[in-house]
Point group: D2
């Protein structure tokens, strides 16, 4: 099972006047982590788009447990938590570097669609892409 770890550094522009990283930044960190996950899985997202598979977001859930601050090193652990031929769900745990309890957790559910944004059965139409995602979920992978 692939669980990737991606590091980002909290940017000044990402803070707000409460002095913490603004909540709208986490979905962007999830995306950077998901992008890194796909690359590590051997399936860079840009290649997926070139093959004609887009993955627009269908649902987003975030839990904000503790705030992050400017300049902190943040680690995002990413895995695929659900997979069907037409949808894939990623799960995220966000940590301050060196800590073991997450400051934020979340999931993103994505439709698997073509360039016209209509659903496609990736298992049938893009079995190679589907296989990579399935392998990422295997306990032994």
């Amino acid at each position: 099972m692939l669980v990737s770890t991606t590091t980002v550094i909290a940017r000044y522009a990402e803070t707000d006047q409460m002095g913490i990283v603004h909540h709208s930044v986490y979905p962007i960190w999830y995306e950077a982590a998901r992008s890194d996950f796909c690359k590590k899985a051997g399936l860079p997202y840009s290649k997926m788009e070139e093959s004609g598979v887009l993955t627009p977001l269908v649902e987003l859930h975030c839990k904000y447990i503790r705030p992050a601050h400017y300049e902190e090193e943040i680690e995002i652990k990413t895995k695929i938590s659900k997979l069907t031929p037409v949808k894939v769900e990623f799960s995220y745990e966000v940590f301050k570097k060196g800590e073991t309890t997450p400051i934020n957790t979340g999931t993103t559910l994505h439709a698997l669609v073509g360039k016209d944004l209509r659903p496609i059965n990736t298992k049938k139409l893009h079995p190679d892409i589907y296989q990579v995602m399935e392998d990422c979920m295997q306990e032994d992978a």
Copy 2:
């Protein structure tokens, strides 16, 4: 019951290379709408912060139904859907102007905290602020 309507115009910077408004923009639109809701309720968020009540996000849920595009006029309908002395939940429905089915729906759950980001019982410590929020939920308001 107060349901506010807030209009935003989708910005070019808010689009992504799929040619649609990026999903991370919706929480920012929710916030602009929530800010407008509070102002219309007679409780501008800046005044709330001055009184020492901050409302950091605890949970965020978004459902993406159909995409929005550059230059489109977007209407966000906002209401308070849950309230306790230490938490408040806002609900949002996002429409393309002139349409009756939403393109996106979501909720944000906020902790009611002091400037030190610790929970406060607003019903006891800030009864005026609590009252305004409660009034917004009344069917007859």
Copy 3:
């Protein structure tokens, strides 16, 4: 000469931990104002893109005079300050509503290019679009 006025409200997400609107937000406000300018000139930017004319930024200059804050109403005055068949420059003055001295001024220089991002002579290839921009600069317009 067309000088458009566009209003935006400073968003919480646009503030930073200095308690002011982050400097990276002004180019986005310029763009929202430019988009509004083009619409008011009868040439919505989306139509321009459909006609095959894109206007990527080539140069950006901003002067930050005084800060803007959350919830403030901001007015951006926009005009075309330079025009050649292959480039157009817009100028911006940013005001707090009701004030007469700007808090920020800036210019954006844009290449006029086709969908392949290569320069095109708009005066020859898109005379209708060029004419609209030229009219916006006329003293009597």
Copy 4:
């Protein structure tokens, strides 16, 4: 003379519907690079803020030479190009990794101010901070 190199990966959220990184992202990359520069100079920006020195932007100039794309590794070379007791200017060159001609260049001019956003003479009031910045400009440093 200190010239720092900072790497960022272009995020999907940073692209726009032209399929390139949006121009408003470069000032944010400059800032991430400047933050990294200060850290490498032994003067993390968060420490500077704690000491009571803020550095709001006064002027921003950017030149966009060639576009950046999603997933590309971007290197930003940063140095201090001007320094007075009340102002500091940073210069940036942005490269695609492995290339030798920049895709973007820029400068940011910052006021050196106190927490009340009023100018301070850092050479007198914070000689240690001023010294670090001056050392970064020395040819032999």
